[in-house]
């Protein structure tokens, strides 16, 4: 956030990539793309390319981490070395560890883990190409992959970010906006209950601006949710036609 520059990010009410303030980037979602994983999802979101895979419920290893009341949900957000301009060294860095932690917590709210005590569910998300907003793209894809794996879920998790650029609250920051903008608010919302299960913010927002950003993100999440549902339907149709 907040790198200085003379770049004007909004001109004549349009953003540099031509979007209106409350417009999402293009999103494509496909469920069931991997053969080994129990559930999977490939998602493109603007320039982001994200692959999610789910294994489980399965035996919890190492055993001493298992929980007698519910399944343990592990989430691994991982950037491929070639996903960013400067090669990302393999292995978890501090940023990945934090994103994995809060994303797991978001999913724990919806997956009926108590149905599978002593087991674990592994959610792996590979960021193949990164262009701002990967954590929301990853979590949105992971939610579809969990549903594709047939895991019982209370609701779908849909993640969208809003932010502030050139003093204006906008939806779904792209890379330039993320670098030179003034605030970013990644959120994840449950469609049926309206609950917020992931929320971060950094930058500079007044209470009013936060309200505007949060409302905008929640509104947009409905569109993303439709794409999540459609992806799962397409998958079942395909299966049916085979």
């Amino acid at each position: 956030m907040g790198m200085k520059s003379d770049i004007q990010l909004i001109k004549d009410g349009k953003r540099l990539d031509g979007r209106k303030p409350n417009e999402l980037r293009d999103i494509t979602i496909k469920a069931g793309v991997l053969d080994n994983a129990d559930g999977s999802c490939y998602l493109e979101w603007g320039g982001n390319k994200v692959l999610a895979g789910v294994y489980g419920p399965k035996q919890c290893l190492p055993r001493h981490l298992s929980n007698p009341y519910k399944a343990v949900l592990n989430y691994r957000y991982n950037m491929a070395p070639f996903s960013v301009d400067d090669r990302k060294r393999p292995g978890p860095d501090r940023r990945s560890v934090e994103i994995s932690k809060i994303s797991a917590e978001a999913l724990e709210r919806v997956v009926l883990l108590e149905k599978f005590p002593e087991t674990m569910v592994d959610v792996y998300v590979e960021i193949l190409q990164a262009e701002a907003g990967t954590r929301c793209a990853a979590l949105t894809a992971a939610s579809v992959a969990l549903a594709d794996a047939g895991l019982p879920m209370k609701d779908m998790v849909t993640a969208v970010a809003a932010g502030k650029i050139d003093g204006t609250v906008v939806l779904d920051l792209n890379k330039a906006e993320d670098n030179f903008g003034q605030a970013d608010v990644p959120m994840a919302v449950l469609q049926h209950s309206g609950e917020i299960v992931l929320l971060q913010m950094d930058g500079d927002l007044t209470q009013k601006e936060f309200h505007q950003a949060a409302t905008m993100a929640i509104e947009a999440s409905k569109k993303v949710y439709e794409l999540q549902k459609a992806a799962l339907k397409d998958k079942y149709k395909e299966r049916g036609s085979k």
Binding site: V97, E98, I102, V185, L199, D202, Q207, A214
Partner: protein, 260 residues
């Protein structure tokens, strides 16, 4: 599961029962902090430091500095790095070893509060553009752990930064004995953390309350703006709840800022 973990689980259940009746173990109000004590410059040999007690939670923040090359995209700006160590001395729940997710999250949320408030004027930390800048290293050392590390650590962090001095730099060498002024720190971002236990929202959770909570929200504010937020835990908040907590964070933030 260790004895300590079992005991903590029991305490967490008790916290939930109390909360359902609108009560807290230590009889605090829902929007009340435990006693806070800030001791700036606790480690006088360090460039900046502070020791904070928040109830039984005790944290030391220390500031070190070194000269390094700037990032290519900000060639005229100093840098900040924040680390947190959950020393095993602080709790039977901590173990030695590389920082676990919770310690990483703590360091990153404290870092974000400091960084995004733009309290440090990084441009003043430039020595030679593109070549040499001051690297500020902020380290959080938890020595006694009874919950709410976010608020105690961020208080210690900003307090340490406020009393930090920059050593002299001459002919490519750092002269630690002499100073070339104070670290340019202009604002006092503070973090307020709320736990949601069932339907109850409570400020400044103890370890037992953190164990019993469903979710957690940390809001970092300066006088006028929110500069960072972090939700944690497997529970959720409604947007109304979040906005209410932001409101509270602004109010409580003022009180915290007076301790600095």
């Amino acid at each position: 599961m260790s004895v300590e973990e079992v005991a903590l689980e029991v305490k967490g259940d008790y916290v939930r029962q109390l909360a359902a009746k609108g009560m807290r173990q230590d009889k605090r109000k829902m929007d009340e902090y435990r006693p806070i004590k800030v001791t700036p410059n606790f480690i006088p040999h360090a460039l900046g430091s502070s020791y904070v007690e928040l109830g039984k939670t005790k944290v030391i923040a220390g500031v070190s500095m070194a000269v390094g090359t700037p990032y290519p995209d900000t060639p005229a700006s100093g840098t900040l790095m924040t680390g947190a160590e959950f020393a095993p001395i602080a709790s039977p729940l901590f173990e030695s070893g590389p920082p676990r997710p919770a310690a990483i999250e703590l360091a990153r949320v404290v870092d974000r509060g400091v960084r995004e408030s733009k309290t440090i004027d990084f441009d003043k930390l430039c020595i030679t553009e593109g070549e040499a800048v001051w690297m500020v290293m902020l380290d959080l050392h938890v020595i006694d752990y009874d919950g709410n590390l976010f608020d105690s650590s961020s208080l210690a962090a900003i307090s340490a930064l406020l009393n930090a001095r920059i050593p002299k730099y001459e002919d490519g060498k750092i002269i630690r004995e002499e100073t070339s002024g104070k670290l340019p720190v202009s604002k006092k971002p503070v973090e307020c953390t709320f736990a949601k236990v069932g339907d109850v929202l409570m400020l400044d959770p103890t370890l037992a309350e953190e164990q019993g909570m469903d979710a957690r929200l940390t809001v970092a504010t300066t006088e006028k703006s929110i500069c960072a937020m972090q939700k944690g835990g497997s529970g959720s908040f409604s947007l109304d709840e979040v906005e209410g907590l932001i409101d509270q964070a602004f109010k409580k933030g003022k009180a915290l800022r007076k301790l600095l």
